[in-house]
């Protein structure tokens, strides 16, 4: 019997573990893949207050070590369902665990474009991590799809290596920072392809090009690229919690800044819940809020 079971060992989940443990609670963290969550893909974090510069891996490892040193139990198991009752239960592919409170901190994952053969071509030209894979495309033409900060950062990063970078965006304005758009415009090897969507991946085992469709004219054109970097945002993975937990139409857990879900004693922290800002700091903050709420609930 645990006091708190936390689902997800990313920034929100591990922050919640630290707060729960320091309040004297018995905490289990369940994680399906690896600790750290999305931040491990970030080479350098420069916006976390109090830390000038740290790699995502080092940040995540620090959090993990802090939580485990305090006594967090971490099990690498995939959660398949939760149940409410006198005791709450969390079922995984391995076992069922009982607890008094649950914190859902499942984060979000990269959203795929949904193109034919997209998953198959990851490793053959399709990538969701420019900083991981960009170096393999030195002096080769690539495309980035997206209009947020990640897409702009990716395009800038790639423009330092690649012969050509097409930045494809479905609108004619970017959600990302103006400063970055200006920097990109100044790059000779960057070409903006606006009001356009990627509609097909060309090539057999390797990407040899992409088909892009203009949203206004419907005109299709082929871009000869060796790589497509997809940066169109994230999506949550909360389906196993429905119907007990209320989700919004996009699949995020409906919860406010107090991290409370529609079920008493079950909380949602970090990127998996409905919110407008999804940052490292807000994930950590949610972890603290949810853990302290769970502690108050347990009594």
């Amino acid at each position: 019997m645990y006091d708190i079971i936390i689902i997800g060992a990313g920034t929100a989940g591990l922050s919640a573990a630290i707060y729960g443990l320091r309040a004297g609670k018995k905490v289990l963290v369940l994680e399906q893949l690896s600790y750290g969550g999305q931040i491990i893909n970030t080479p350098e974090i420069e916006n976390y207050p109090g830390i000038k510069n740290i790699s995502g891996f080092d940040f995540a490892t620090g959090l993990y070590e802090q939580a485990t040193a305090l006594g967090a139990e971490v099990k690498y198991e995939q959660v398949t369902g939760i149940a409410d009752g006198a005791e709450k239960q969390v079922t995984t592919t391995e076992a069922t665990y009982s607890c008094k409170a649950i914190i859902i901190a499942t984060g979000a994952k990269n959203r795929p474009l949904g193109l034919d053969r997209e998953a198959e071509l990851v490793g053959g030209g399709v990538s969701y991590c420019a900083t991981c894979d960009g170096a393999f495309y030195k002096k080769r033409p690539v495309a980035v799809n997206g209009g947020g900060n990640t897409a702009l950062e990716d395009a800038l990063f790639l423009s330092n290596y690649c012969s050509k970078v097409y930045l494809i965006h479905r609108r004619d304005e970017f959600r990302g920072e103006v400063k970055q758009v200006e920097q990109l415009k100044a790059k000779e090897n960057v070409e903006f392809v606006l009001n356009a969507t990627v509609t097909a991946l060309l090539g057999e085992d390797q990407v040899e090009g992409i088909e892009v469709t203009d949203k206004i004219t419907g005109e299709k054109r082929t871009l000869q690229v060796d790589g497509l970097f997809i940066a169109i945002g994230q999506m949550p993975e909360n389906a196993v919690f429905a119907p007990l937990i209320q989700l919004d139409s996009a699949g995020y857990v409906v919860a406010g800044e107090d991290c409370k879900t529609n079920v008493e004693g079950i909380y949602a922290a970090g990127d998996c819940r409905t919110k407008t800002v999804r940052q490292l700091t807000t994930a950590a903050a949610d972890g603290a809020v949810a853990a302290l709420a769970a502690c108050a609930y347990i009594g």
């Binding site: 893949l33 491990i40 970030t42 990538s127």
Partner: protein, 106 residues
């Protein structure tokens, strides 16, 4: 079982001419997911009771090997059997999946 550091010098002997299948981890120090996967690969090697070998290729040091095997995303795990690519996986995966990747070709 010890994890072999693979280079262009020893790749032929340790991997391509190996009598047993070899699980090869292509990685780089600046790649976060690679650093997450690396200890899992170590664990799989440690817990192995034999039947396969485990090696790692640092793609920064061994660019030729990365290019030869068409590495475009890391971390990338490739299982070589009889000198040929028998199985491949891209990205961070959980330990059971790593084990399955090797075991499915044994």
């Amino acid at each position: 079982m010890a994890v072999i550091t693979l280079t262009s010098e020893n790749f032929e002997k340790e991997v391509l001419q190996s009598a047993e299948p070899v699980l090869v981890d292509f990685w780089a120090s600046w790649c976060g997911p690679c650093r997450m996967l690396s200890p899992i690969v170590d664990q799989v090697a440690e817990e192995s009771t034999g039947g396969f070998k485990v090696g790692k290729v640092n793609v920064d040091d061994e660019g030729d090997l990365a290019e030869k095997y068409g590495i475009m995303n890391i971390p990338c795990l490739i299982v070589f059997k009889n000198g040929e690519v028998a199985n491949k996986s891209v990205g961070m995966i959980a330990k059971p999946k790593v084990e399955e990747l090797v075991k499915s070709v044994l």
